[in-house]
Subunit: 176 residues, 2 copies
């Protein structure tokens, strides 16, 4: 099982404005920077309720028939998703990973600020692919949060794109 | 006049631990990544009092005979610097830049968390050279702070080093 993060941030480290706004991202997601290939490589997308509710506003549902797992301890009305493959799970990151592994998933895409931070703190993220958008927005929802201990990273590759996107890929070293 | 920032951060954007600790940086400053060439290109280093006091603990004084300007509204005892070329200034970033320009400086190195943030907010930084060290430290002194408005960046170049350092250079676009 491999769990990956693939996300865009401002150069000052935010994934959204304080109100969730994404207007600072390049229009249409910017020039191609590997998202489609990455999506094709994953078996399931794991997101939290906040991200789910943001994505619900998109029309059409952006994940096609890709398996999407929404983490929530509260009941969700998944019937509102038209044509998607969405299920709900609760529990700790360890429990989620165990359930998904048992169901045959080998590559998970962990997305959304709170969910990424929970899985990082639990030591369950293996790959980090961060694409920096060339802007400082000053405040917002940070990608990273507090940790119980330093997390050492192994730099795999960095790619710069003509529009100014800079994408760095890291493997997370699990010391324990 | 050009004002540049040349600084190392963790991948989560910190320049020091909450107590100022730098133990997470690679020993000896890491593999060569352009610092010496950058230092040779500047006429004066501008730092705040906090950075000055940290640097004072180094032996020998690390800046040789390079002109160093310490920003402080309180009196500083500069006689404790052995062999350096240190002076004190007060005032706004605009006033500091005007004074230094009048004295013949053409390339300033703006360093230290608070000082960098003040000059960024004042729209007085022209180049940003950020070297990401492959580690997450979870909390600390952030490189970036709040801004009155978005700051658009022009990506100049990114260089990855074998040890995992990733250095991105940006030009700051001054819209106004």
């Amino acid at each position: 099982m491999t769990a990956s993060v693939f996300i865009g941030t401002s150069v000052d480290g935010f994934i959204a404005r304080p109100d969730g706004g994404l207007d600072w991202l390049p229009a249409g997601g910017g020039e191609p920077h590997g998202y489609d290939d990455f999506m094709a490589s994953i078996d399931a997308l794991v997101i939290g309720r906040n991200t789910f509710e943001i994505v619900l506003a998109f029309d059409p549902w952006p994940y096609g028939d890709k398996r999407v797992v929404v983490l929530s301890s509260k009941a969700l009305d998944l019937s509102v998703v038209k044509g998607g493959n969405v299920e709900q799970m609760g529990g700790s990151p360890e429990e989620i990973v165990a359930l998904l592994t048992a169901s045959g998933a080998q590559h998970l895409y962990i997305d959304g600020g709170i969910t990424i931070q929970r899985f990082l703190r639990a030591g369950l993220i293996d790959r980090l692919i961060v694409t920096r958008v060339p802007v400082l927005i000053g405040e917002g929802v940070p990608l990273f949060g507090s940790l119980a201990a330093d997390v050492r990273l192994d730099h795999v590759a960095t790619r710069a794109y003509p529009s100014g996107l800079v994408q760095s890929e890291y493997r997370i070293l699990h010391d324990a």
